[in-house]
């Protein structure tokens, strides 16, 4: 496997120094899943002489390995770490450790949950003794203690809501946090005032438990996003981290990508990706552009030809002169296109915020009206204030604040078990609205690797010869040929590979050639079609054709079922691809997709997505390549397979880890179910308000009633959300649940 092809230099770049000659290396190991994996890996790593400490984290599927830079025998070779992991039967890859920012936010949220939970429990304890009838002096004492506990909790745990509410108001909007902040701070102020005047009712318990419940919702939401992000960031990086620089004096040095300047000469070995845009100086080769442009057939390059970053070098070593800096390369253009395209996603407002935009003015108006009514009619402004606060607390969107995140967390967990990662809750909401699905072809509908479909050969011996030649090449067509012939081919010695042509072997005076027609037979014979959707390879003997092999890009498993399922549920499907039109048409015909557009540039792909969006469609874009990234950003919502380019994975809202395309209809189904549950939860929460608000307006809502009503409504909402899980378990009962498998390596192989 190519997982071992990570060079020592690249590892040294990824590992960070701990001082005293020790370095720490974090690796992602997607396959660990149980206790024996932990001990197998840790044992294998600890056996290496230079490894000081190895620890597996099963939750994030990572290994942290501390190793010494130098041993007694000289410099340590850190590639041994990856080799040891591979030897134990696991795949390992370097990953970009993403900002520690996320971890910090999670810890802050957990801390806030802890603090508000502590405060809520203690205040509730005191409140229960007040409710069960304490005499006036004790009640006042308890209220004062509650006030003192609540104040720091309010400041510490409430800051998330206050900050977000302030931000929304500053921009002239409202969100869910505005009524929350208002209810929390007003109820605290009124309770404090009541306490100071020896009043009977204080709302400290409601204030703090409100915060506690809402923070649970917020923390769940954050943990879900973090889990998905960690899984996606743990995938193999496809873009190289650095490059082998050829200095003018002939020495070679591995440098990070950012240090390459225009005019530098870089060596690119077979099986590596081109690090920056450049021009070939020395060498000939074939490049696999599948991930760059979506073109399924490799392209031959020779000296003087421009090459773009991200292309995989297949057949011969190259020396490339950089013509652009890494930050100006193709990738940078794609990123600027993506920023310009940022479409439905940026404009989309979360359902909770949309609800709040209607809900909070209504609630605030209601509180104000009851305040004025009680004040004007009854004349007791203090009592009027208490009623208004009771209305605010009763209507505070506690259930609403929990209703959405809990459903989304349950839905994301369900998708996670099927190997689909959701980056955030709003992606699920947007996915539920989709009515059109646009697919990229190469790498999405197809696997991006060819499959032998037809052979024209005189006899079996020719097949064996072709296979014997094919095993010598990394060219995808050769590899597919060697794989599908199966039995061992005729052995050849002295096989040479001619980039842009094929393979050549001499046996005495006989010359066998395997490759494209022009190369194998010396000229293109009449009757062959250049623009055929099938790629072809010819075997020749001294220039005479022996056999012809036809290949097509293998369809992704479950592609047909997925398209059929989408069609039967009245989704419009179309293909937007960067590959040749004839190839695209062929795939579209096989899958029964009526609209197929080929030969599109990244900008045209974005254009198609935007055109669909403007005509009122909500588009789900499924794609993988660098060229798809802008379209992924422009679409209403987007999905990418785990084998996608780094930027494609970053741009997509959902990433699926299994090889089957069924993930697309599955994800849509779960998203729709969760959207239905969210609506139900809204209905439940509003129904509860309709019952409770008259009680509050009538001035009958004591703190006890508020506490009971608030807890029950939260419990009902959470229970309703968990039904999604139950439904999923039922529907899964027939099938055996499969662990999420990562296909992150398929492309590199």
């Amino acid at each position: 496997m190519s997982t071992t092809s990570v060079s020592a230099e690249e590892i040294a770049l990824a590992a960070h120094s701990l001082g005293e000659g020790l370095r720490q290396l974090d690796l992602s190991v997607p396959d660990v899943h149980c206790g024996s994996c932990i001990s197998a890996l840790e044992k294998a790593l600890s056996a290496l002489p230079y490894v000081r400490k190895a620890r597996v984290n099963l939750t994030s599927r990572r290994v942290t390995c501390v190793y010494a830079e130098k041993t007694e025998d000289g410099a340590a070779d850190p590639t041994g770490i990856i080799a040891a992991i591979n030897g134990a039967g696991y795949r390992a890859h370097l990953f970009t450790p993403f900002a520690a920012e996320n971890d910090k936010t999670r810890n802050q949220l957990l801390l806030a949950v802890g603090v508000s939970g502590f405060a809520a429990a203690n205040i509730m304890l005191l409140s229960v003794s007040v409710w069960s009838g304490a005499d006036a002096a004790t009640r006042d004492l308890f209220h004062w203690i509650s006030a003192m506990i609540a104040a720091p909790a309010l400041v510490y745990a409430g800051r998330f809501f206050f900050r977000s509410a302030w931000n929304a108001l500053k921009h002239g909007r409202t969100n869910m946090d505005v009524p929350i902040s208002l209810a929390v701070s007003l109820s605290y102020a009124v309770s404090l005032w009541e306490t100071a005047h020896h009043g009977e009712h204080a709302w400290f318990d409601a204030t703090v438990s409100l915060l506690f419940f809402l923070l649970i919702g917020r923390t769940l939401d954050h943990v879900m996003r973090e889990k998905a992000r960690a899984a996606i960031n743990g995938l193999a990086r496809l873009a190289p981290r650095g490059a082998l620089l050829l200095a003018p004096n002939g020495s070679r040095r591995y440098v990070p990508l950012d240090e390459i300047v225009v005019g530098d000469e870089i060596a690119v070995a077979v099986g590596e990706r081109i690090p920056v845009d450049g021009m070939v100086v020395v060498g000939e080769s074939d490049l696999d552009l599948a991930i760059v442009t979506g073109e399924s057939a490799p392209v031959a390059v020779a000296s003087g030809v421009a090459v773009s970053s991200g292309a995989m070098n297949l057949t011969g070593s190259l020396v490339v002169r950089a013509t652009k800096l890494a930050k100006d390369s193709l990738l940078a253009e794609i990123i600027s296109l993506m920023e310009a395209a940022e479409g439905g996603r940026a404009r989309y407002r979360r359902i909770a915020d949309r609800a709040a935009a209607l809900y909070s003015p209504a609630v605030h108006l209601l509180a104000l009206v009851s305040f004025l009514a009680w004040g004007l009619i009854g004349g007791d402004w203090k009592h009027a204030m208490l009623v208004a606060v009771a209305v605010l607390i009763i209507t505070c969107p506690c259930a609403l604040g929990l209703a959405v995140p809990v459903v989304q967390v349950v839905a994301a967990g369900e998708l996670f078990r099927r190997g689909i990662m959701v980056k955030d809750g709003s992606a699920l909401e947007r996915l539920a609205e989709v009515d059109t699905v646009a697919f990229d072809k190469t790498g999405t509908l197809t696997m991006g690797s060819p499959r032998l479909v037809r052979v024209e050969a005189a006899d079996e011996a020719d097949l064996a010869k072709a296979a014997g030649l094919a095993v010598h090449s990394r060219h995808p067509l050769s590899q597919a040929l060697a794989r599908s012939v199966g039995h061992a081919g005729t052995p050849f010695e002295r096989v040479s590979e001619i980039p842009g042509g094929g393979l050549e072997a001499a046996r005495g005076s006989e010359i066998y050639r395997l490759g494209n027609e022009a190369f194998a037979c010396g000229a293109i014979l009449p009757g062959s079609t250049v623009d055929s959707p099938l790629s072809e390879v010819v075997l020749s003997h001294n220039g005479a054709m022996l056999a012809r092999f036809f290949f097509e890009d293998a369809l992704r498993q479950g592609a047909q079922d997925a398209i059929k399922e989408l069609g039967s549920t009245r989704f419009e499907t179309l293909i937007i691809s960067g590959d040749r039109q004839s190839v695209v048409d062929n795939v579209a015909q096989v899958l029964g997709i009526s609209r197929a557009m080929g030969a599109l540039t990244p900008r045209q792909k974005v254009g198609e997505c935007q055109k669909l969006g403007e005509s009122g469609h909500r588009v789900l874009m499924v794609g993988d390549g660098i060229n798809d990234a802008p379209a992924l950003a422009a679409a209403h919502v987007s999905m990418a397979p785990a084998t996608a380019s780094d930027i494609g994975r970053q741009a997509a809202d959902l990433v699926f880890f299994n090889d089957r395309l069924d993930a697309v209809p599955q994800a849509i189904a779960v998203a729709r179910r969760s959207a239905a549950l969210i609506r139900q939860n809204f209905a439940l929460a509003i129904g509860y308000n309709v019952l409770a608000v008259p009680v509050a307006i009538a001035g009958l809502a004591t703190p006890l009633i508020a506490a009971v009503a608030m807890s029950t409504s939260s419990i009902i909402v959470v229970t309703n959300a968990l039904r999604l899980n139950a439904a999923a378990t039922r529907s899964r009962a027939g099938r055996s649940p499969k662990p999420a498998e990562s296909g992150g390596e398929a492309r590199i192989a």
Binding site: S39, N57, T59, L110, F118, N122, T138
Partner: protein
Amino acid sequence: MNMLIYLIPIALFMGGIGLAAFLWSLGNGQYDDLQGAAWRVLADDESGPPKS
């Protein structure tokens, strides 16, 4: 009534201990790998200290 003077501080103190323990465990990375810890209990750790 008078017993409240010391009962309440005791209750708060005990709650505070719980909170402090939670904060410590959070800072100490006890929640970093929940699944792994469950498995590690079952693993026969041969690299532990000799038993004799």
